[in-house]
Symmetry: C2
Subunit: 359 residues, 2 copies
């Protein structure tokens, strides 16, 4: 263990975290420093709660990800879940298991800095957690509490036949970013020495690859869009496993089918470039790559005006429709051919998990 971290000790680190964090919510009766956090109940709202773990060797490699970016992502993926409920995040808890060797106090500080940066962006207060040593890799487990107006949370289960299906942003960017990392690309760096550069690839394509890296390393949860969609979206989910899988979850919970138009899928420009570079199919990255943290939602009225107001720079694309039938999505190709849409990321079925994420 890093001598600075060992000197600090477990309780010294908790003290350091307490110093670093800022209070951003009014309901904290007792934050870090007790057996449990004590929070004022919000009588006008419902409580939202979600948890997501990031594990070294599965969700990230320490060689790839700057710890500050990883801290941001660990918070952001949870914020994305609250966004997909149309809610507002309030309080976070951090579970942190650190490898006994190979992590430094400076890295832990960078991780905390990233967590706090993301928390600050969304007005979240860190109110508790758990720190321990890991016998293997770094484990970051964030639990996020939020609120929605009473009865106002947007569930996965409200889609009805006749609703349109929409998605925010571009898809496949995070998967392309992961492929780029595997090929040696790094944020802000020049072309990897080990990779030959094709003639067609210019400055614009390089910029697109950098955007894909950012999509993977520091996803931006669609919080403003999610909140604006409360009362408009009949069902909503964040795209964490890929539209193929996540549209399936929405269909299953709503007991409806869906037809998704392949030509309508908004492909992230970084996904298009990486697909061409590696001889992959861009549509496959967009449908099955996962980790885009965009919002996929059904609506029976036009969401465009409200999103143009709430999230003016965020594209929103019509991708299909909700129909009656066996709860599963169908992909409709431009030539009219239809296929059962399946095969988003499943942690148990693919090995090694990380590189399989885009397989």
């Amino acid at each position: 263990m890093d001598p600075a971290l060992a000197r600090l000790g477990e309780f010294g680190l908790i003290g350091l975290i307490r110093q670093r964090i800022q209070e951003r919510t009014s309901g904290t009766i007792r934050g870090i420093g007790d057996d449990a956090a004590v929070l004022a109940a919000d009588p006008g709202g419902d409580l939202l709660v979600t948890t997501d773990m990031l594990l070294e060797g599965i969700h990230f490699q320490r060689g790839w990800d700057c710890l500050r970016e990883l801290g941001r992502k660990a918070m952001a993926v949870n914020v994305s879940d609250i966004a997909a409920m149309g809610g507002c995040p309030l309080y976070a808890l951090l579970g942190l298991a650190m490898p006994a060797v190979g992590i430094t106090l400076a890295e832990v500080e960078a991780l905390l800095l990233g967590l706090e940066e993301e928390a600050a962006t969304h007005g979240i207060t860190l109110v508790g957690g758990d720190t321990c040593v890991s016998a293997s890799g770094l484990v970051i487990s964030v639990t996020l509490l939020g609120r929605s107006p009473r009865g106002g949370a947007v569930l996965r289960s409200g889609a009805k036949p006749g609703d349109w299906l929409w998605v925010t942003g571009g898809l496949g960017g995070a998967a392309a970013g992961l492929l780029a990392l595997e090929q040696g690309f790094r944020p802000g760096q020049v072309w990897p020495a080990t990779l030959s550069r094709p003639d067609w690839l210019g400055g614009e394509e390089e910029a697109a690859i950098q955007e894909a890296l950012a999509a993977h390393l520091t996803p931006v949860p669609r919080l403003a869009a999610g909140r604006a969609l409360q009362g408009i979206a009949t069902a909503m989910i964040d795209v964490s496993d890929g539209v193929a899988s996540d549209a399936g979850h929405l269909c299953t919970e709503s007991r409806v089918a869906a037809r998704i138009q392949a030509s309508q899928i908004p492909i992230h420009r970084g996904a298009a470039v990486m697909a061409r570079l590696l001889g992959r199919e861009a549509l496959d990255l967009a449908l099955r790559g996962g980790e885009d943290y965009e919002l996929l939602f059904a609506a029976d009225s036009d969401p465009v005006p409200v999103l143009a107001e709430a999230a003016p720079t965020l594209p929103v694309t019509w991708v299909g429709e909700i129909i009656p039938g066996t709860p599963a999505p169908t992909l409709v190709h431009a030539d009219g051919r239809e296929e059962h849409l399946a095969g988003g990321f499943d942690h148990f079925r693919k090995a090694p998990p990380r590189s399989a994420r885009t397989a």
Copy 2:
């Protein structure tokens, strides 16, 4: 990966968890199956929230612990935190990272069974979580939400000079149980073949060792006692790192000192037996072993009558007093000698962490 688990897939497992769990609270608007759980706010109470991780190779060895017992413990250690606030647990989230090789569906089912058993004991509903694959060992992260009457949570920070210091149950049992596991003892099994049995050790001592194993593997959170102490305890903490460390936390948060009488420390009879067997000091196991999950609390009135009513079979022992001074506990020996009481379990300072727990 176990073929049965791979066949089930990540979402199949989530479906199985959904089937297995029971609804035990009235406020669940939406449990497992969405981006976040949706819970009715409790306008008459404050919200309590805590999280604790158990990691393979740190908190447990899969060879030692039956997965069912591990499931119970993962829930129980969080319940203990709610107990130490004088609160009532309500909702749990489960983060589960499973090794890609070496864990079977049957083991995962046993783990879930144990979690549900402990949840049933305390009226808790599992409302969400996260499942993924681990590149190394099993990781179990439980987050628990609970309630306390508004303004009624018992913090660590309320102890005042003149308060008495009390502890429930016996101490050192969990540490003794861990030593017993390391020596080859197993629940319900005969004497380990590799260990010679001394003459003084009879049936009563064997029973005490079995109790120590149970104290380590399936700790019993002191929920009824904790709730009864609301309004009586001025400050409370659960004994997870050992009284030496946890009394220090209570002193630090309350800005008081404490004098603890060594002769008053209630030593678990399994700790006494294992200490004699291994040439260790029983008092050291009781003060620094950790994981007993008893309640250490300060009070300015007599807690015995109320505890006799709420938890009639649970011993409660006066162990010392709160005094003004530098926020740290002092241990007073029978001969009047005093020593600074320090050295509970610190995850960062001792390696290897597990065997160091009782060092």
